[in-house]
């Protein structure tokens, strides 16, 4: 049977988050982080969403558009995504989006994606900063599109989508739905590619369209305070050089904890 492939117009919604190595420092207001101390990177689940979009474009043809809702600093992750192979970018820029909740970000992204008539919208299942795990589903609901979350495989055939949802404890489920649709992608769905020098050079010529939210960003969640969490256990730290610390730890595990 001859399968006709129709080109796909795919959006990938990405976010800039502090790096995993970042040591949190709190701002004086006690409700936010000191952004000037942070180093930033592409949210890891979003990187997998981008990779999945690039693979779908390779298989079906079409276009990959990356989209972020964030302050000026967030342009960095758009440039990185363009260097990895995205065709163009949309930056919805507003200072208030730097710390906005998922409901607010989802509304802003819906506005930006609404006019583009994407066949498929992908995003990571959650962000490594606030971690609400809501944005993709909020975006789908706002656009009136079907969705599925925590996806580990994406198949497209004859205008329909068939995706593998991860359930808990090693269970999975295939779910079918029509296009257009929104999916949230789980880390590990594919092997990531990184930007090549050629990609970085090519990215300089690609378009980053700037837009602003049509209305002020309205928060739905208020952060009353942000703090270093209290330990639930008192950790005994074994100190000294490796050999000395190892001897101390083994003694404790044998004599105090009695687990070896």
């Amino acid at each position: 049977m001859v399968q006709t492939l129709s080109p796909m117009k795919i959006a990938v919604c990405i976010k800039q988050v502090p790096t995993r190595e970042w040591q949190p420092r709190l701002a004086d207001d006690g409700r936010s982080i000191r952004e000037q101390d942070a180093s930033w990177e592409l949210n890891e689940p979003d990187a997998y969403a981008l990779e999945e979009a690039l693979r779908l474009r390779e298989a079906h043809g079409g276009e990959v558009v990356v989209c972020t809702a964030g302050p000026a600093r967030a342009a960095m992750v758009l440039r990185e995504a363009l260097a990895r192979g995205a065709d163009r970018a949309i930056h919805i820029e507003d200072a208030a989006l730097g710390h906005a909740d998922a409901m607010a970000v989802g509304a802003v992204l819906a506005e930006a994606c609404g006019g583009e008539a994407f066949d498929l919208i992908l995003t990571g299942l959650q962000s490594d900063d606030q971690g609400y795990a809501q944005t993709g589903v909020v975006l789908a609901a706002r656009l009136g599109l079907p969705h599925a979350t925590i996806i580990m495989d994406v198949k497209i055939d004859g205008g329909r989508l068939r995706v593998k949802r991860e359930l808990e404890g090693g269970w999975f489920q295939w779910v079918g739905m029509p296009l257009p649709a929104v999916l949230t992608i789980q880390s590990g769905i594919n092997q990531l590619r990184y930007a090549t020098l050629k990609g970085i050079m090519a990215a300089k010529k690609k378009e980053i369209r700037k837009a602003a939210p049509s209305a002020p960003v309205t928060p739905r969640v208020e952060i009353l305070s942000l703090y270093v969490p209290q330990k639930s256990k008192r950790t005994e730290i074994v100190s000294g050089g490796p050999a000395e610390a190892a001897a101390a730890l083994v003694k404790k595990l044998r004599e105090d904890a009695r687990v070896i």
Partner: protein, 320 residues
């Protein structure tokens, strides 16, 4: 008034449902709690839920909510919320909740706070504690706007056995009147990828490796330690995603949940998705170069430093 949305499959309750009831009872502070449970088998699950000290249990049934779909659950639960008219809607932060609750919040045009670990009172009103920045920080947050406010609680944040029992509530059934055409997802039967060849839940000792191990060429260091401890080797998700260890050795919300006598976390930062799978271990040892890593919040013993130096020393010490 609090509405708890419980979760079940084929009549078997997800244990997180009882945790959500415990959270709902605390939030209700004496006002009535109603529990709703949907899907094929919900009437059987409702009987079990009737042991709870709540005002009512609603089994949500109907042809369009036999099997879980996001569209079906949003439509059915929007109708339950309209009928119960709660101040708060409480859910367990399961993968299923993550799939439909944000869409339910949009449909209701109400705020949703996810992955909470506790309830506080701030200025006389409820506030919710939740992890931020991969658990490096915690925040007290409050949903804004009008009631009802939706809140999901992290698995294990409340104890299901501490949900108050014994009011013999009224059990009712509610027909979900959802149009078949309104449901766009077509779900297939859930399945397990491969039978779990390794049942880590039975292991007495586990050595688990994380990103700190840097590359598969360093795994023998952890394997040697595991051998010296008579332990199984396991890993956090990124290690299995990279294919350095098979998926069946993954510990955490998407892998196995374990409670060994000894759990040695090697180069694991302690993101909550991992911690939920191992915090039941009796003794936890954390080996990490970062003294601020969240894994130390649950560790009994810790070593802060280079794991590439420490693992061989520890293995040698055990062999003495």
């Amino acid at each position: 008034m609090v509405l708890v949305i419980a979760e079940q499959r084929n009549g078997t309750l997800n244990r997180a449902s009882w945790e959500a009831i415990a959270a709902g009872q605390q939030l209700a502070a004496g006002s009535p709690v109603t529990v709703a449970v949907a899907g094929a088998g919900s009437e059987q699950a409702a009987k079990e839920l009737a042991a709870a000290d709540v005002a009512g249990v609603i089994a949500v049934t109907g042809a369009q909510v036999e099997h879980y779909t996001a569209d079906g659950w949003v439509a059915a639960h929007a109708a339950v919320v309209a009928s119960v008219a709660p101040q708060w809607v409480v859910l367990p932060h399961t993968y299923q909740t993550r799939d439909f609750a944000p869409a339910l919040a949009v449909k209701l045009d109400r705020a949703l706070v996810t992955d909470c670990t506790g309830i506080k009172t701030v200025d006389g009103k409820p506030a919710f504690t939740r992890p931020m920045y991969q658990g490096k920080l915690a925040a007290d947050v409050r949903p804004l706007g009008e009631a009802p406010w939706l809140v999901t609680f992290q698995i294990g944040a409340f104890r299901g056995d501490q949900a108050k029992r014994g009011a013999s509530p009224a059990n009712t059934r509610m027909d979900a009147t959802v149009e078949a055409a309104a449901i766009r997802q077509v779900p297939e039967e859930p399945f397990q990828e491969a039978r779990q060849a390794v049942d880590l839940s039975e292991a007495e000792r586990i050595v688990a490796v994380g990103r700190g191990i840097k590359g598969p060429e360093h795994l023998p260091l952890a394997q040697a330690l595991a051998e010296a401890l008579h332990a199984e080797v396991a890993a956090s998700r990124p290690i299995c995603d990279s294919g350095w260890l098979p998926m069946e050795r993954q510990i955490g919300s998407s892998g196995q949940t374990v409670a060994p006598k000894l759990y040695v976390a090697v180069g694991i930062s302690g993101a909550i998705q991992h911690v939920v799978g191992m915090k039941g271990a009796r003794t936890i040892v954390a080996i990490n170069k970062d003294a601020e890593a969240p894994i130390f919040e649950v560790a009994d013993y810790g070593y802060v430093g280079d794991l590439f130096e420490f693992l061989p020393a520890l293995t040698a010490e055990l062999k003495k």
